[in-house]
């Protein structure tokens, strides 16, 4: 049976040769992302900003204009209305009311009363209310989670490989997280708790990928003792290219299925993860590997350490 080969058996793509262009591009994109995080800024969901979110099913196709004026008259500040998925599902977002927790509840009651009046039989599919206390706690928890994850990865890689690899991996990670945040800022996709979950998954996947490449680099450094470092890196990337492509393909296949059929609620979450797979793979090849050169990975020293460890083991 003739098997499907996405990547030929022997490839010799000079990835490392492109490293300067790739790193320049990465730096530019990272700076753009950093700027975008403030201008236009992230579209924070109610999890981090506080406020009210409602997904309602209208009897018949929704008249967004009517709903907008009806709710706008309630004097609740910024009210965002949009279609969600199909013509008779509407997503309503109301910004956080001044005045603490009680005010949020009162605002929600007003909205429910108004909607019941405008469209009897409206189906409240989902309502979420986050007060100021909880939203600030969630911001803290989210930030800590991401920082902690990156830190843990650094420790683990340092432990398993050695510090150049650790730093390289973490810089690649920060690059991935940064560009993902930038993507959210530019597309203005809602940035809420499930986005943090997606970011952490991206951290996990990206490291997964990077480790596979690093593992091969370590092996090849031992195997080809006289080959210059850039060539060893190239060899390693080419060696793992088949596996990297395959796994990215299968994971993307699964995510695409989820994106198309998984319903509206998790679309943003899934999109973030799809982006993460692409970026994670890119960074393992064009950021993590070349960084080993930049960081001054000294193979002589590595060899000496290896020999020491070997003699100590005897």
């Amino acid at each position: 049976m003739k098997l499907l080969r996405l990547v030929p058996a022997h490839t010799d793509i000079r990835f490392i040769a492109w490293r300067r262009i790739a790193m320049a591009a990465s730096v530019v994109l990272f700076i753009l992302s950093a700027v975008a995080a403030f201008v236009p800024g992230l579209n924070f969901g109610i999890d981090f900003r506080g406020g009210i979110l409602m997904e309602v099913g209208t009897p018949g196709p929704a008249d967004l204009g009517r709903i907008r004026t009806g709710l706008g008259d309630l004097g609740l500040g910024e009210v965002a209305i949009q279609e969600f998925g199909d013509a008779d599902t509407v997503l309503i977002r109301i910004e956080r009311q001044p005045g603490g927790e009680e005010a949020q509840k009162q605002a929600q009651d007003k909205v429910i009363a108004a909607l019941d009046g405008m469209m009897p039989g409206v189906d409240y599919r989902r309502t979420e209310l986050v007060g100021p206390k909880v939203s600030s706690e969630l911001v803290e928890a989210g930030a800590i989670a991401v920082l902690l994850a990156v830190l843990l990865m650094l420790v683990y890689i340092w432990f398993r490989f050695e510090w150049h690899f650790g730093v390289g991996a973490v810089i690649a990670l920060v690059h991935d997280v940064g560009l993902s945040i930038g993507m959210f800022a530019i597309t203005q996709l809602e940035f809420n708790l499930s986005t943090i979950a997606a970011l952490l998954t991206i951290v996990g996947y990206s490291i997964n990928d990077t480790v596979v490449v690093y593992d091969r680099v370590r092996e090849n450094l031992r195997k080809y003792k006289t080959l210059p470092l850039p060539d060893v890196l190239n060899q390693s990337i080419n060696d793992t290219l088949s596996r990297t492509t395959m796994t990215s393909m299968t994971t993307l296949l699964a995510l695409v299925a989820l994106f198309i059929f998984g319903g509206e609620v998790i679309k943003g979450f899934v999109f973030a993860m799809m982006w993460g797979i692409v970026i994670g793979t890119y960074s393992s090849v064009f950021v993590a590997a070349p960084l080993l050169i930049v960081l001054g990975l000294d193979r002589k020293r590595l060899e000496a350490e290896d020999n020491e460890a070997a003699t100590a083991a005897e």
Binding site: K105, V130, V212
Partner: protein
């Protein structure tokens, strides 16, 4: 790597079988599962709120108000005591956590100190911390004959704690009335309560049940002047107060009542309350316990012909006139109520009043229809992802891909079995986690297969190629998956609700994927290798 001892084979088989068995309840109807409990205590997976529909609320208990209540009562008691002993004082008030009063004549100080000390309440001893068992106020004499009665730290902590516990009790009773399955009501931190009520048809209705403090008192209406007069003149007679009416009608939106402050009977003495009909109108019939019945009887006997106010949370819900003394201790609350309103009121009265005010600080309700939609969407996505990945693997790796696919099927059973067995909660992001695992699970197999290909290229025999392939790949598999597992671990500890569900399925998925890739696939390929003894590996 290619040798499998018999007991190892047996172990792998047992684990896979366990996975299948644990998953079975998910395919059976609820009734069958319930019937099975006696001989096979297994349950289907525990669906989260976003898949089952229901209410999730985080409430904050205003524990400060409980302290304030004690201080108010103490201030009142001090006033009574000092007046009773005819001790002159000035400057009686509350400052911080203490009641302070200045005794006018130095010779009264001794007596005053003694009397105030006696007002202390004894704290029940706390077996856990070894503290308590003392008085709840510390009385000290300051300069200028000033007496300070301060609430002790212990007292404050205990009161706040018991306010929280009592609130949980009251809420539990109220929610039990709704008859829903397994609500979760737990404390979070020192002053928060988490409520999760799955399966509520209309989750927004929970607010009406949980929110109100439901403190009911009976007070006499002040007939020395009308409420209108008091409002307009701005002067309220001493010992009375203006309370708003609970029901605003179109023509009298701001109706108030002038009532005496003194509480005649309190809702604490209510024994029962039922929603019923009287003359075709929905009403709440209530019954007091012995103490309440006596107080009620005395109050009505002394005030025949006068109106009294039934006050709920400082709003007057009804103000009937006393026609005759009510000695039986039971009565009826009538007004322009709807059927739902009397039912809710009866629930609130039966469960009792909350000791402190509750504020909703976070709420996430999901309607049952969205929950069902999410499950359906998740299922479809799962199946399609599954089929797509399977086909892709067979196309790319042929027979070996097929082995990986069989391992994938077992993997899914293991994940579902683990979730069902641990009764972990499956949420919508959790389903996403399973789909993601489907995509990532094959990675371990891919690593091995690519390695085997390389070894073949180097000219190794089928046996050697497989042996070296597995050996070399194992280290990489472990390294790569441990890091993703660490990320899932952090998510689990820092996340809540749906996110936790995602972390759980991701974490379990990683464990099972590594297991199936390293054991199940290997076992199948080894068996095939031994039987067929091929000249070349079809990879």
């Amino acid at each position: 790597m290619l040798y499998f001892s018999p007991w190892k084979i047996g172990l792998v088989a047992v684990i896979c079988l366990a996975g299948v068995i644990l998953t079975i309840p998910n395919f059976l109807s609820d009734k069958t599962v319930a019937g099975m409990q006696s001989w096979l205590p297994l349950q289907g997976v525990n669906l989260g709120l976003d898949l089952r529909g229901g209410a999730h609320q985080l409430l904050e208990v205003d524990t400060e108000s409980v302290i304030k209540q004690r201080l108010d009562a103490l201030e009142d008691a001090v006033r009574q005591e000092l007046r009773g002993e005819r001790i002159r004082y000035k400057g009686l008030g509350i400052s911080g956590n203490a009641v302070t009063v200045q005794i006018t004549r130095p010779e009264d100080v001794e007596l005053a100190l003694g009397k105030i000390k006696d007002l202390a309440v004894f704290l029940p001893p706390n077996p856990l911390s070894g503290s308590g068992g003392g008085r709840d106020i510390e009385v000290t004499l300051e300069a200028d004959n000033r007496i300070l009665a301060t609430l002790t730290e212990d007292a404050i902590a205990q009161r706040k704690h018991s306010a929280l516990e009592q609130s949980i009790e009251v809420i539990r009773r109220r929610i039990d009335e709704l008859g829903t399955r397994e609500p979760t009501i737990q404390r979070q931190g020192s002053d928060r309560i988490l409520i999760q009520v799955p399966g509520l048809k209309n989750p927004n209705e929970l607010d009406d049940i949980v929110g109100p403090t439901a403190k009911m008192v009976f007070k006499l209406v002040d007939i020395t002047m009308t409420a209108e007069e008091a409002r307009q003149s701005g002067r309220v007679p001493a010992g009375s107060e203006l309370l708003p009416s609970a029901e605003g009608s179109a023509d009298q939106p701001d109706r108030h009542f002038l009532v005496r402050k003194r509480v005649m009977v309190s809702g604490e003495d209510l024994e029962d309350a039922q929603a019923t009909f009287q003359q075709g109108q929905p009403v709440v019939s209530f019954r007091f316990n012995a103490i309440g019945a006596k107080r009620f009887g005395d109050a009505t006997a002394q005030n025949v012909g006068r109106p009294f106010a039934i006050v709920l949370d400082d709003k007057v819900i009804s103000a009937p006139t006393i026609r005759e003394p009510i000695l039986g201790g039971s009565g009826v609350i009538s007004g322009s109520f709807t059927v739902q309103e009397v039912q809710k009121l009866a629930i609130l009265l039966r469960a009792g009043a909350l000791p402190a005010e509750l504020t909703i600080i976070e709420k996430r309700n999901v309607g049952a229809s969205l929950g069902a939609d999410s499950i359906a969407a998740g299922e479809i996505a799962c199946i399609i992802a599954f089929v797509a990945v399977m086909i892709f693997m067979v196309l790319s790796y042929g027979l070996f891909g097929l082995a990986a696919d069989v391992a994938l099927i077992i993997n899914i059973f293991l994940i579902m079995g683990a979730l069902s067995g641990l009764q972990a909660t499956l949420t919508l992001p959790g389903i996403a986690g399973i789909v993601l695992t489907i995509g990532m699970a094959v990675d371990a197999n891919v690593l091995v297969f690519e390695r085997i290909r390389e070894e073949i290229k180097l000219g190794k025999s089928p046996f050697n190629a497989m042996e070296t392939g597995y050996r070399r790949a194992l280290g990489t598999i472990l390294d790569a998956n441990i890091t993703t597992f660490l990320a899932a671990l952090i998510l689990f500890t820092m996340g809540s609700g749906p996110i936790k569900g995602f972390a759980v399925t991701l974490g379990i998925g990683i464990l099972t994927s590594v297991f199936t890739a390293v054991t199940v696939t290997r076992l199948m390929l080894v068996i095939w290798l031994r039987r067929r003894r091929p000249q070349a590996l079809p990879i």
